[in-house]
Amino acid sequence: MGFRVYASRRIVNTIIVLLITITLQFLIFRIVPGNPIAHFISPNLPLEARQALLQMWGLDRPLHEQFFTYIYNLFSGKLGISFISQRFVSDELMERLPNTILLMGSSAILTTALGISLGVSAGSRRGTRRDIVSVTFGLLTEGLPVFFLGMLLLLTFAYYLPVATGGLINFPVAGTVSRPPPTSLPIYVLDMLWHLALPMITLVTIGFGGYTLIVRNLMIDVLTQDYILTAKAKGLDSRTIIYHHGLRSILPPISTMIGLSMSGVVGGAVITETIFSWHGVGRYLYEAVLQNDYPVMQGTFFILSLVTILSNLAVDFIYGLLDPRIRY
């Protein structure tokens, strides 16, 4: 079977998986207990007004009609209209997506880079102090609850230290930019990076340990292989052996890990976004789940599913490039 046949099969499978996912997403949210109107229950909004809202949201229509509306909304590009805000879900997502991609993307890059480099370093120096320190530190930080670390960093660097140092060390308490933001573009960018620092440090600290441990174990396994021994016998330097032969061999599983984490780049991190008041997709989705805002849940999960499925597809295709042993 050539690559073309393999690719066609994978694409068809992907479409089927996507359609099943879309259908399940619609049904699951209808089955889960909860009523979207619950968010509006208040004596100030009498019963007839609440019933009018349900009509406006289309929840009084038959299920199959709601399903067709849902499919139309997904593929029309607007992803539906939020019950809570009456805004197009796509507009609300586009408002938040840049913030989430900035935070999660930069954190993912740093986490991956740090985790892989530490893992390679530790795995190629097994049993040394570097290895022990990397593993210990990785395990410690991996086990830290993100809300604990985030809150500790926020209060320390955004409140106590600014007060203690008279503003010499002063990280922001909330937001993606200062309120009001600087008008000059370079200063605006710097201001944004300054606001990004604490949430990014939180995510990288929590996240790099997992990569470190996995890459370390993969490296240890790979470095015991015969071809590594052959490379050593050939007189290759250790740097070439570790990076050109060792790391190259473990790239396929690492790329799978990276591929699976792609949806997180879009989906956000609800706890970190909450602690740092970061206007992102994670918190948006969390609130939609609490408020039974079906269009938001459906639209956002559709995007996340799409990203996950396409990432997996891309990883499958990339495998052949990374590992020449793989033939279709």
Binding site: E48, Q86, E92, L152, Y160
Partner: protein
């Protein structure tokens, strides 16, 4: 003020840190005792406590035995340990125990002469005994028929979702068990709880809170009229009392004068108190903090100084020692999802919307009575609306008001607004607009609104309806998805379509983060300012050198540095 900047903080920790650090000037809706204590110790801040129309209650399902027995409900109402709840769960600071369903925050609408049920186990036993209940030898409660009472289930949110509500239910159940009830607490996911209570009516007892009940206890109608004893109606206990129905209807729809309305609602409160279908537990204070150096804030009865609805404060707020001008930063309090004035009903959205759009009448901050605003006078006459009695309300508008883009404000805008709200059946104005029969404009500054019914609330509702500019909204194809703050004004650069007649103009926003309002230079009101007070200026933040997190951080840093030095010396030679 020249400028108001509303900013969003997603957690109370961030908001409290922001005000202590000086990033913001005003913080409302403080509810955690630890935050109140921390802010109280900050000498650069003032803290205020205001009664608000927030209300937490225990409700009984009167449809089934034994809770259909009023005496049993009264006995259980006497078992609610309100003071213990306030002290144990709220530090004795942030809430006040409530005995009245319509609290004193409602001012003249509150009837203080109703039967109340303070915590009193002895009284509870007396009520039960006199109602024919008795106890078995092992302390189990028996009904008047001699049979042991069935299990009574108290549903509450789960401990994970709402630990305070869970604990409150637990305390009440424990008290009930002590008295011999076979009481059981069931923690239920909040969504399921609402479904069981509101839709299915499958409950015995539940605990819930409501807030922002408005200035008038009109919600009593929704809570107790038998017509609302339907799935999703607010009469969850299932009260069906003809006399009460009559009183509530009279209060809500028929009272032509304030005295009539008051008389009806006071009698209704006496009835509901006697029925004991709900028993109040506590009401949360509106706790607000603001940095020293500000003056001109006005307490709004049942609301507070700065929170949503505290309109007059923002018209008068100024730096102490000056009579006008300045910029203030305020925590908005919660997520602002839309600034569409026809849909943004949340308290946080209203903080912003309420400063951009005016209404025909305003409310007196002390009494809540309607006072002239966009209308400087009005007249009410009887009208024949066909089937029922009605009213014609004639508003005489001020002549110097204008929209923020300079277009004149006239009676046509009011006619357009009301017809727009009615045509599209905008949900939040539905009950008001259903009563509007006709709107006419004899001239540019006079508008006549004919409404069904003769209630005093016709004036209040008509006077409080959202007034939107015809020249902007007549071209709106879908009012639901229209976001006036996101679309540029068609002819005025620098403005958006979010144009009102209000004292502030939306000048900048970053969605989800901040909203910047600047004062409207052409605002039609020139309000008397409060006398500048001799407030102390804001003190510099004291350097908190001895706080535990800082010490811990410094210790850890020292250990790391020392460890590195030792390692370097020992292993590197």
């Amino acid at each position: 003020m020249d400028e108001i900047l509303f900013v969003f903080h997603a957690t109370p920790e961030a908001a409290v840190a922001a005000i202590r650090k000086g990033d913001i000037d005003i913080l409302s809706d403080i509810y955690r005792p630890s935050d109140v204590e921390a802010l109280s110790q900050d000498s650069s801040l003032n803290i205020t406590f205001s009664l608000q129309t927030h209300y937490c209650y225990v409700a009984f399902n009167t449809r089934s035995a034994p809770l259909g027995d009023k005496q049993l409900r009264k006995a259980i109402a006497h078992l609610v340990p309100r003071q213990e709840i306030a002290n144990k769960l709220f530090g004795g600071i942030t809430v006040t125990p409530m005995l009245y369903e319509t609290s004193p925050a409602f001012g003249k609408w509150h009837n203080p002469d109703v039967v109340v049920y303070p915590y009193d186990v002895t009284k509870s036993k007396e009520i039960l005994a006199s109602a024919g209940y008795s106890w078995t030898q092992d302390g189990k409660l028996r009904g008047p028929d001699g049979k042991i009472l069935r299990r009574i289930t108290f549903i509450s949110p789960t401990q994970e979702e709402a630990p305070t509500s869970y604990e409150i239910a637990k305390l009440v159940v424990e008290e009930m068990k002590e008295l011999g009830f076979d009481a059981y607490q069931e923690g239920v996911a909040f969504d399921s709880l609402l479904t069981r209570v509101m839709t299915e009516r499958k409950f015995d007892i539940y605990f819930l809170c409501v807030s922002n009940l408005g200035r008038y206890p009109r919600w009593l109608y929704d809570y107790y009229h038998s017509s609302l004893d339907v799935p999703d109606g607010d009469n969850t206990p299932g009260v069906r009392d003809q006399d009460l129905d009559q009183l509530l209807y009279e209060f809500r729809f028929e009272s032509e004068t304030e005295d009539e309305a008051r008389a009806a609602v006071w009698k209704a409160q006496a009835k509901t108190a006697d029925l004991a279908a709900r028993t109040p537990v506590y009401s949360r204070y509106q706790i607000e903090a603001f940095s020293k150096g500000w003056a001109g804030m006005i307490q709004h009865k049942g609301i507070g100084y700065f929170t949503s609805g505290a309109f007059w404060t923002y018209l008068n707020l100024h730096r102490a020692g000056t009579d006008k001008g300045g910029a203030v930063k305020i925590d908005v309090g919660g997520r602002v999802r839309t600034l569409n004035p026809l849909y943004g009903t949340g308290a946080y959205e209203q903080k912003i919307i309420g400063l951009i759009y005016d209404s025909i009448l305003a409310s007196d901050p002390e009494t809540g009575d309607p006072i002239p605003y966009l209308a400087d006078s009005w007249k009410i006459e009887s009208a024949d609306t066909g089937a029922a009695k009605g009213q014609r309300i004639t508003f005489n508008l001020v002549r110097n008001a204008s929209w923020q883009d300079g277009a004149p404000f006239t009676s046509r805008d009011i006619k357009f607004s009301m017809e727009f709200l009615k045509k599209y059946k905008i949900p939040i104005f539905l009950s008001t607009m259903e009563r509007v029969v006709q709107v006419s404009t004899p001239d540019e500054f006079t508008v006549e609104i004919v409404m069904n019914g003769t209630s005093i609330f016709n004036l209040i509702d008509a006077g409080g309806a959202m007034i939107i500019p015809e020249h902007i909204w007549k071209n709106v194809s879908d009012w639901r998805t229209f976001q006036p703050d996101r679309e540029p004004h068609p002819s005025k650069p620098g403005l958006t379509k979010m144009v009102g007649t209000g004292p502030f103009i939306l000048s900048e926003e970053k969605p989800g983060e901040f909203w910047r309002l600047k004062s409207n230079p052409a605002y039609f009101k020139r309000l008397p300012l409060t006398k500048p007070e001799a407030e102390s200026t804001r003190r510099d933040q004291p350097v908190a050198l001895l706080n535990p997190p800082l010490i811990a951080t410094m210790v850890v840093a020292c250990v790391i540095v020392f460890g590195l030095l030792v390692w370097k010396r020992r292993f590197r030679g």
